[in-house]
Amino acid sequence: MDTANAENVRKQVRVYVTVFAALMALTIITVTISTFHLDPPAAIAVALLIASVKASLVAAYFMHLISEKKLIYAALGLTAVFFLVLLFLPVSHFADRGL
């Protein structure tokens, strides 16, 4: 938001408050669900899904990624690729061992 004008920012403030409320609600939901002690696969899927939604809200609105320049998206896209490689390296380790 390089050329942020005051009026646009004032409108954004309402969005920030809404996102804040959503983040609080999602925090309560994820803690409540954790008390059910679901089976690990379901518990992991639900917890990571809610965390991903929360992270997306922070990145999109607080970090302004919803309206950012192409170069930033390109840098983050490349980062995402390397991050996924890093995250799935352990999988290849277990595949090698036939586990």
């Binding site: 920030y16 983040l23 965390a51 922070v58 609105y61 607080f62 970090m63 930033i72 490349l78 890093l86």
Partner: protein
């Protein structure tokens, strides 16, 4: 020598230089925390048994800390919005709140660590406790870094608002991007370590 493109976007990148710089730094941070998350997955999948976080860790304290950190992210973005709308007085209130909330987070984390030590739970206790201290400790160091930068922008650094307000607003935006990233890391640390 004047530093170029501190206010206006550079024509070829479309953003001011500091913004591109902080995003590239955050990309390297993703890889730093990514390596540790990857290690966590490897250790957890490879372990014969793995404790549930809720058996060893204090979920109510961590939930309060989650609320504190999310609140600090909101006050940070409101601090930037205050400058963008020309209100330096509101900026000081919001930035002061951000620094205060960050300190609250560290105090609560300190209580949590103290309780672990009281029960003899040191990093050498188990792989789970070791990676808990590694991940939350590194995250806490990032909180300390954010407090230092934000305190500067609240105190002596804010003199720039009088001489170059647009540049100062950009500085606060860049500090904000870092701060939101620290919040973002916690959003994943909380369920992964405490709730699963």
């Amino acid at each position: 020598m004047e530093i170029p493109y501190t206010v206006d976007p550079r024509p070829d990148t479309g953003v001011y230089n500091a913004k591109l710089g902080i995003w590239l730094f955050l990309a390297s941070e993703v890889m730093l925390f990514g390596a540790l998350f990857s290690s966590y997955v490897l250790l957890r999948v490879g372990a014969v048994s793995w404790p549930h976080g809720y058996e060893h860790l204090n979920i109510p304290l961590a939930t309060v800390n989650t609320v504190v950190l999310i609140s600090s992210s909101v006050t940070m973005v409101m601090a930037w919005a205050s400058l963008a709308t020309g209100s330096f007085r509101r900026y000081r209130i919001y930035m002061g709140s951000t620094v205060a909330l960050a300190c609250v987070f560290l105090v609560i984390k300190g209580f949590e660590y103290a309780a672990k030590f009281e029960h003899g739970l040191y990093p050498s206790e188990s792989t789970f406790i070791a990676i808990y201290f590694t991940l939350t400790g590194l995250h806490a160091l990032h909180i300390v870094g954010g407090i230092v930068v934000n305190s500067y922008l609240l105190g002596p650094g804010s003199a720039m608002w009088q001489t170059d307000p647009r540049r100062f607003t950009n500085r606060v935006e860049v500090a904000g991007l870092y701060w939101h990233f620290v919040d973002l890391v916690w959003i994943f640390l909380f369920p992964v370590l405490y709730l699963l």
